[in-house]
Amino acid sequence: MDLSYSITPIDGIFVLALSLLLGFEVIKNIPAVLHTPLMSGSNAISGIIIFGGITQLLNTPLDHGWTLAAASLAVLLGAINLAGGFFVTHRMLSMFVVKKKTNKPSKP
């Protein structure tokens, strides 16, 4: 079974145009409280560029040293961006949530 699939650049442009509209719709009305987490969260999502690095790394024979090294560097950079971004967003959002729980009972 062939698990891989591929899209043409033209398909890609369709995806691009539609997701552009979608993107603006989704994020239009975000309260200022969440701007920083939104930013670090979307920053983490841009770490998805690691997929390119993974594709390169997996398709490079092990004896192509420099190519492999460059792909590895890309994967490493992407992984830090991706994981770090999600972790730090989680940490930030945890502060918001914990605070709500502890304050509701103490309000009255």
Partner: protein, 457 residues
């Protein structure tokens, strides 16, 4: 694999949507992270089956990267969040540049159409600017010594931008079979890296929210371009979502300062010559003890925090003050200007870290028409965002910028370290008002003094 990608795509969009809702934001973040993980596993299974050794290397790299990211994200203090976001953003941009160059020089990825060629050029261009731009932004935010803004930087920025445009146009008109595409790509990447530096160097502190959002958007666009190159729809969608977020936030920040993006990038307030001549301002100062009694006799108090609060690390004292005042039935709100701090929403995060309840944090637009209800407004480390000249002095360079109308409150106390002007350099006419007093000193120490005094009362 198609199925996994479908799930991941839906998860990403839904996750980002949840992140706009305070109650579900945490879930949204986890959903987005899980979606990326699903897509990543699918990708590895689909492409890596035949190269097991590579898969081991990949897993090792991912583990190391995740480990570093985790440590980093846990160590950083909340006041340093803008720096961290900049660094991560820089890494993403660097990744794009490395990928693009490796695709041509290492992998020999066929760049047989103008479309693919342009996509690759744009990926490296945006990635390069985002990389060095974010690094400079990081150094600035971290308060490192950098070359002072000089006109030569702007000239260099214009030259590099022109070079980039010429090179891109040249690529479009040159014959497809000309063999120097790799050289052109390398040249564009290098100039883009330089442009990132020149673009960012002259941009000042208070414009950081705009700059960081913009750089974030650039990385998103680079990711999207890379997605077109690698034909990965998840990358395209992820990149677009990031790009859209970045652009929206950039525009919102610009609106909040009543400045054009071009004006921000030019580095300084355009009409800086039109500032009023220095008049002697008649400043009434106040002591912490007097402030404390004034607060104790108020019913409604508001705090307007700015970057100065972050510098003084005074958010916990703000919380303590709120708790103290609550005991004597004084209600304390926090009013946040959209561009307060060094990144969008910076103040909200700091206040949340200090356990200040969400309900007592107000956005500028919520309360601005009812400011006279506040008996006392404490301005902590903010300046331009409470300058009434923005509303009533057409000569002032910040005229037209939306401000928090602190001057409408019955009493205003501004905590300042010195009489230095705000970022814009505009004279703050708030100090001329009869109801305004200044409490000199470090914000944190002043707040501690006020709290101690309140304890005695």
């Amino acid at each position: 694999m198609v199925f996994a990608y479908l799930i991941a795509t839906i998860g990403l969009v839904q996750g980002l949507k949840f992140m706009g809702d305070p109650a579900r934001a945490k879930l949204g973040n986890m959903l987005a992270a899980a979606s990326v993980l699903v897509a990543l596993v699918a990708l590895v299974i689909a492409t890596g089956w035949s190269h097991l050794a590579n898969v081991f290397l990949l897993v090792a790299l991912l583990a190391v990267g995740t480990f570093i990211g985790n440590i980093w994200s846990n160590r950083v203090a909340m006041t340093e969040m803008p720096q961290l976001v900049s660094i991560f953003n820089a890494l993403g941009g660097a990744c794009a540049v490395v990928l693009g160059l490796n695709a041509v020089y290492g992998m020999g990825t066929p760049v047989d159409t103008k479309l693919l060629g342009s996509v690759l050029i744009l990926a490296n261009l945006f990635g390069g600017v985002a990389f060095t731009g974010s690094m400079v932004a990081y150094l600035k935010l971290d308060g490192r010594k950098l070359p002072r803004p000089a006109p030569v930087q702007k000239v260099l920025a214009r030259i590099s931008l022109a070079l980039l445009l010429i090179a891109s146009v040249y690529y479009l008109v040159m014959p497809s079979d000309a063999g120097f595409y790799p050289t052109l790509l390398l040249a564009i990447s290098i100039v883009a890296l330089l442009y990132g530096v020149f673009l960012t160097l002259p941009i000042g502190g208070a414009d950081m929210p705009v700059l960081i959002s913009l750089l974030n958007a650039l990385t998103g666009v680079a990711t999207m371009m890379a997605g077109l190159l690698f034909r990965e729809p998840v990358m395209i969608i992820g990149g677009i979502l990031v790009g859209a977020t970045g652009v929206l936030l950039t525009l919102q920040m610009c609106v909040a300062m009543n400045r054009s993006l071009a004006g921000v990038l030019a580095g300084k307030f355009a009409g800086s010559g039109s500032a009023k001549p220095e008049g002697e301002q008649d400043i009434r100062s106040i002591t912490a003890v007097e402030t404390a009694s004034m607060l104790a006799f108020s019913k409604q108090v508001a705090v307007v925090p700015g970057y100065g609060m972050a510098v003084a690390q005074a958010q916990r004292e703000c919380f303590a003050l709120q708790e103290m005042l609550k005991q004597s039935d004084v209600d304390l709100h926090f009013i946040i200007h959209p561009v307060a701090g060094r990144m969008p929403g910076h103040m909200n995060v700091l206040l949340a870290e200090a356990n200040i309840p969400y309900a007592s944090v107000k956005e500028m637009s919520e309360v601005n028409n009812t400011m006279e209800h506040y008996d006392t407004v404490l301005v902590i480390g903010a300046n331009d965002v409470v300058n009434p000249a923005a509303e009533n002095d057409p000569d002032s360079i910040i005229y037209g910028m939306p401000i928090i109308r602190a001057h409408k409150a019955k009493q205003v106390i501004v905590m300042k370290r010195s009489m230095a002007k705000g970022y814009s350099g505009a004279v703050n006419t708030l100090f001329d008002r009869q109801n305004c007093k200044v409490l000199f000193g470090d914000a944190k120490e002043s707040l501690e003094a006020i709290i101690n005094e309140l304890k005695r009362i």
